[in-house]
């Protein structure tokens, strides 16, 4: 174990959340819960990134009173990356939800295993 686990408690939480989301995406039978798991996983990564940009005692990266000293503001890069990432995760979850609707109208179930059983039964 390294020295910084307690100092990095935010990252530790984000790692745990990531794994919870990952497990949900991998294990849940229900598609909707899989999608929630996906969203949790993404949020966890964004939390990780935001923690990386944070510097104790500094302000948000919006210039106040035209003070442009590097000692005043936190690191703006992670925020920018997360903004891009959030858009990506919204688009992906919209796509997954529409796939869910299509699957449900065809097979009347949200369980992927049951769907593949039905497909095998159809015998194609």
């Amino acid at each position: 174990m390294g020295p910084n686990l307690l100092a990095n408690y935010g990252e530790a939480v984000s790692a745990i959340l990531f794994c919870i989301g990952f497990t949900n995406l991998l294990l849940q039978n229900n598609l909707i819960k899989k999608i929630i798991g996906l969203n949790i996983m993404d949020s966890a990564i964004y939390l990780f990134l935001a923690e990386k940009g944070y510097i104790a005692g500094r302000l948000a990266p919006i210039v106040v009173d035209s003070v442009t000293s590097v000692d005043t503001y936190i690191n703006p890069i992670p925020s920018g990356l997360v903004l891009t990432g959030i858009v990506v995760s919204v688009s992906v979850s919209a796509l997954m939800l529409s796939l869910t609707i299509r699957l449900y109208t065809r097979y009347h179930t949200l369980n992927l295993d049951e769907i593949s059983m039905q497909l095998k039964k159809e015998g194609r």
Binding site: G2, F18, G21, F22, L25, L26, L31, K34, L38, M41, D42, I45, F48, L49, K52, I77, P78, L81, T84, G85, V88, S91, V92, L95, M96, L99, T100, R102, L103, R106, Y107, L112, I115, S116, L119, E122, R124
Partner: protein, 497 residues
């Protein structure tokens, strides 16, 4: 700066922009725009390739007004330009080869959307090839994933939608791991541009700081890209996705989409971590083992399969195993073999998918082997093309597959610990390949006494035959004239450093 240096940027923006334009055009115009754009980008890449070969120097192109650690960049070398050219050729041929099947497979009103997806897929592939920035790579990986998913489920039968869901789940797991690895890497180095990360990484290695996080981040990125490119244990979505989507989609997906991710992995290995540092980690052993397993189990599943397109799809799993085996050898020769196999597999697999559709068309649309008996007599060009593809996959001289197997064998001999394993598995896999491909070829050339096919016209389409001919020529060029291409790959890999 020479005007030709603008070409990579032009090709990415052109394909992005044409995607937007296709959304408002009528259907026929969208088709023409799509074709013209692919051809134009191919032409631009060819000119760029010639220019780069003459100068012998890669160049960096600023995306914006700011230099290296601040702005965003793209970078072009011989390998990148060559890959872009090759991707355009394969994409054009795949689109042309499946064009006559499109009206039957996709609802009339959704053709526009199909062309949008193809254009955006091309742009994302080009961006993955050219980019010099890790986060840009992540964004375009997502575009690639979503548009590939669209290509799978645009033919809306139950199987494709189920396959699309499985594909999305696997890919999203992959992107999550990739992004996490990326974030850890950013935390360690403070940069997002590949060249700057590499400097910082070599500094970190020299000082011995942060060794464990570094290895973990590299491993996470590798696993993410492996999952996305359907390496053996993660291939569950692949057979349905390739087997039931439209013809062009299957050809494009199998030959280009997974190759885009693999090319990104190559870039990460060379330009982010550094080849030597990567080879000193345990990760290459993992890639090696999974590659070997994929080669055998993919072929075994293909033998069991009773459906021609699913068989070809399973064969893809085996071929991706070959590529990762080359990575796992950890030598320059193995890498060259892998890159050559990317080209050869892309050319062959799209040929096989497009030929298979010709065979199934003349067999009443059935894809079961029993119905394919004698199909090659009914559709000559498809039969010949399928045979060429099969021979190339098995590794018969004169075709591209032979060269890549030869390169793999040569590379394996140079590696001490892994020589025996890779040679044995290469042999077994070749035999297994021969079993299922030759079985199919013999089946399609067996004449039948049945007479149930009178309702089908036996005429070959001219454009379809032309596409198949182009593919055959491409395969033979890769197989006969391989030395310049191998030299080019070596030159391109050397430019990566």
């Amino acid at each position: 700066m020479n005007f030709i240096c603008n070409f990579p940027f032009f090709s990415i923006l052109l394909s992005l922009f044409s995607g937007t334009v296709c959304s408002v055009l009528p259907q026929r115009a969208a088709k023409i725009v799509n074709r013209v754009v692919i051809l134009t980008i191919g032409l631009l890449s060819a000119i760029l390739l010639v220019y780069l070969l003459s100068t012998g120097e890669p160049f960096i192109y600023w995306m914006g007004h700011f230099p290296a650690p601040w702005g965003n960049e793209i970078r072009a070398g011989v390998l990148e330009a060559g890959m872009a050219l090759f991707f355009c050729i394969i994409m054009y041929l795949s689109m042309a080869g499946g064009a006559h099947k499109l009206p039957g497979e996709v609802v009339e009103s959704k053709h526009n959307l199909y062309y949008i997806l193809v254009n955006l897929l091309l742009s994302s592939l080009l961006a993955l090839v050219y980019t010099n920035d890790m986060f840009t790579a992540y964004v375009f990986v997502e575009i690639n994933t979503i548009s590939a998913c669209g290509l799978i489920m645009i033919r809306q039968v139950g199987r494709t939608i189920e396959a699309a869901v499985r594909y999305m789940i696997m890919s999203l797991l992959g992107s999550g791991l990739l992004l996490f690895g990326l974030c850890i890497m950013y935390d360690l180095t403070g940069h997002l541009l590949m060249s700057n990360i590499k400097e910082s990484v070599s500094l970190l290695i020299a000082t011995g700081e942060y060794q464990i996080p570094l290895i973990v981040s590299v491993a996470l990125m590798c696993i993410g890209l492996c999952i996305k490119s359907a390496l053996f244990p993660f291939h569950a979505w692949l057979p349905d996705a390739y087997g039931y989507s439209t013809v062009s989609s299957a050809a494009i997906l199998s030959s280009l989409v997974s190759k885009g991710y693999i090319f990104l992995l190559i870039k990460i290995i060379y330009r982010v971590i550094g080849f030597d540092i990567f080879n000193n980690t345990r990760i290459i052993d993992m890639l090696f083992v999974f590659g070997l397993m994929g080669m055998i189990f993919g072929s075994l599943s293909a033998i069991k399969e009773n459906d021609i397109r699913r068989m070809i799809a399973f064969s893809s799993v085996a071929q991706i195993g070959y590529i990762y085996m080359g990575f796992g050898m950890g030598t320059q020769a193995g890498m060259v073999a892998s890159v050559f196999h990317i080209l050869s597999h892309a050319a062959t697999k799209s040929l096989l998918f497009i030929a298979a559709i010709g065979l199934t068309d003349v067999s009443g649309g059935s894809r079961k082997f029993i119905d394919l008996t004698g199909a090659a007599y009914r559709s000559k060009w498809a039969g010949v093309a399928f045979t060429v593809g099969s021979l190339s996959m098995v590794g018969v001289p004169l075709f591209s597959g032979f060269i890549s197997k030869l390169l793999f064998a040569q590379a394996a001999v140079q590696v001490e610990g892994k020589m025996l394993a890779s040679l044995i598995v290469l042999g077994i896999s070749t035999v297994l390949n021969a079993i299922y491909f030759m079985k199919t070829v013999i089946r399609i050339y067996t004449s039948t006494d049945e007479s149930s096919y009178t309702s089908i016209t036996f005429k070959d389409r001219k454009s379809y035959a032309l596409v198949l001919l182009c593919f055959i020529v491409l395969n033979v060029i890769l197989g006969v004239n391989s030395q310049p291409i191998v030299n080019m790959i070596e030159q391109g890999l050397a430019m990566f450093d």
